[in-house]
């Protein structure tokens, strides 16, 4: 009996040790650094609130921490879309003025690998800017740093909350330098193929309801002012 207890205790300790190593793994995949606030002039930035009830519409399967908004919105309960979220929100320009509408489709990625620090989401932004055109922004996002530095500490906190000043890039591909692929649809963006990065700035998070104060920022390279300098700067943003 004593040996059995020792074995079980050892296994529990081993499991905890493995979990700790994975959690603190310094070799885990990290997202690229966030772009500087005063980025290259060849970039366009669009910001949005990442808080569910700041969106125009936010919906999911109804089983996640973030609850659908408005309350009576149709939920995505069917098996093929159960791990998907949709958010419709106002996109704001550099001066914080409304610039258009953004719709974000996000689905959990089957490429998620906790062992290598990859908590992945496949997402697609559709952005309509009435003064400029339309864009599809397709990316793979890695939320590992976000989970490790915000979500887990919020669950450990006695008040089930996290407060701080966190900023990180969630984009991890599919561009070669870890950037997003951008495809133009209509208007000035017709035919465009470019790169972008998405970053999050979080100040408060609740383990019960999800993000409380969080902003997202899309930084998109503009084509008509293309230059080698802009290419180099964006490539630099996409690498550690």
């Amino acid at each position: 009996m004593r040996y059995l207890i020792a074995l079980v205790a050892g296994m529990a300790a081993g499991g905890a040790l493995a979990a700790g190593c994975i959690y603190f793994n310094p070799f885990a995949a990290h997202s690229p650094d966030a772009p500087p606030a005063d980025g290259p002039r060849q970039q366009m930035t669009l910001s949005y609130s990442a808080v569910a009830d700041h969106a125009i519409v936010y919906t999911n399967a109804g089983e996640m921490r973030r609850q659908p908004y408005p309350e009576k919105v149709l939920q995505l309960w069917e098996p093929p879309i159960r791990q998907t979220e949709i958010m419709t929100t106002i996109m704001r320009d550099e001066s914080n003025a409304p610039a258009g509408i953004g719709i974000k489709f996000s689905s959990r990625s089957e490429e998620t690998r906790v062992l290598s620090g990859k908590a992945l989401i496949d997402s697609a932004w559709y952005v309509f800017l009435p003064a400029r055109g339309t864009l599809l922004i397709a990316q793979t996002e890695n939320y590992w740093d976000y989970l490790r530095e915000i979500v887990v500490p919020a669950h450990w906190d006695s008040a089930n909350a996290w407060k701080g000043d966190w900023r990180g890039t969630i984009t991890s591909g599919p561009g070669e330098s870890g950037t997003v692929r951008v495809y133009g649809g209509s208007g000035a963006f017709e035919g465009l193929e470019s790169d972008a990065l998405e970053t999050l700035s979080a100040r408060a998070y609740s383990a019960d309801i999800g993000p409380v104060a969080m902003q997202g920022l899309l930084t998109i390279k503009i084509p008509d002012t293309d230059s080698p300098a802009a290419d180099n700067e964006l490539a630099a943003l996409g690498t550690d």
């Binding site: 050892g10 093929p80 959990r108 309509f128 009435p130 397709a138 209509s186 208007g187």
Partner: protein
């Protein structure tokens, strides 16, 4: 007993690593794709939206009945001529396989726009721009871009509204049919053995 404890530690570490390696954390449910070969090459796949059952959102300042109830569509002038809709989309067997957005807008800067984004979680996303002028009872347009399974695909999509005339009690108003035809973009390189 210490040897047993140490063996337990090794077993515990191995069990956690093996579990994380072999058990998928995310496993998207897949409906079988219903794809036909198009007469002149490429694949044809049809989707539809049952109205009103599959409509998630209608964002339109002029709409008197917002959907979902409680929706507060932004009161910005830049969105005056914009109608944004979200749907669930179904395959030919009437099973929900994804979600989609449809935007119809009139812009002073670049005219009329009708665009769809079809997002199928297990497969990828398609971005389609339609010709705003209806023809033959519907609209047709081109696939602008695709991701994952649809990456590098070129092709077309048509939308067509078909009203329900069955009179069945549980029938809706009708269906939006979305018929896609796509094929891989030619790479421009000849594949073969080097001389």
């Amino acid at each position: 007993m210490i040897k047993t404890f140490v063996s337990g530690i090794v077993l515990g570490v191995a069990a956690v690593i093996a579990a994380l390696y072999f058990i998928p954390l995310v496993d998207q449910y897949r409906e079988v794709s219903i794809i036909a070969v198009a007469p002149n090459g490429g694949n044809a796949e049809n989707f539809h939206v049952n109205i009103p059952m599959d409509r998630i959102m209608v964002g339109d300042r002029r709409s008197k009945q917002p959907l979902p109830p409680g929706l507060e569509w932004p009161n910005y002038r830049i969105l005056d001529e914009t109608r944004t809709e979200l749907f669930k989309i179904r395959n030919s067997r009437n099973a929900v396989v994804g979600v989609a957005s449809r935007l119809a807008a009139r812009s002073d800067a670049f005219g009329d726009v009708i665009e769809w984004v079809l997002h199928l979680p297990a497969r990828g996303t398609m971005f389609v721009t339609l010709n705003p002028e209806p023809a033959g009872g519907g609209r047709t347009g081109a696939i602008r871009a695709g991701t994952r399974e649809f990456l590098g695909m070129v092709g077309s999509m048509s939308e067509r509204w078909v009203a329900d005339t069955s009179g069945a009690a549980d029938a809706g108003e009708g269906r939006i049919h979305l018929n896609t035809t796509f094929m891989a973009r030619a790479s421009g390189r000849i594949q073969g053995n080097a001389p």
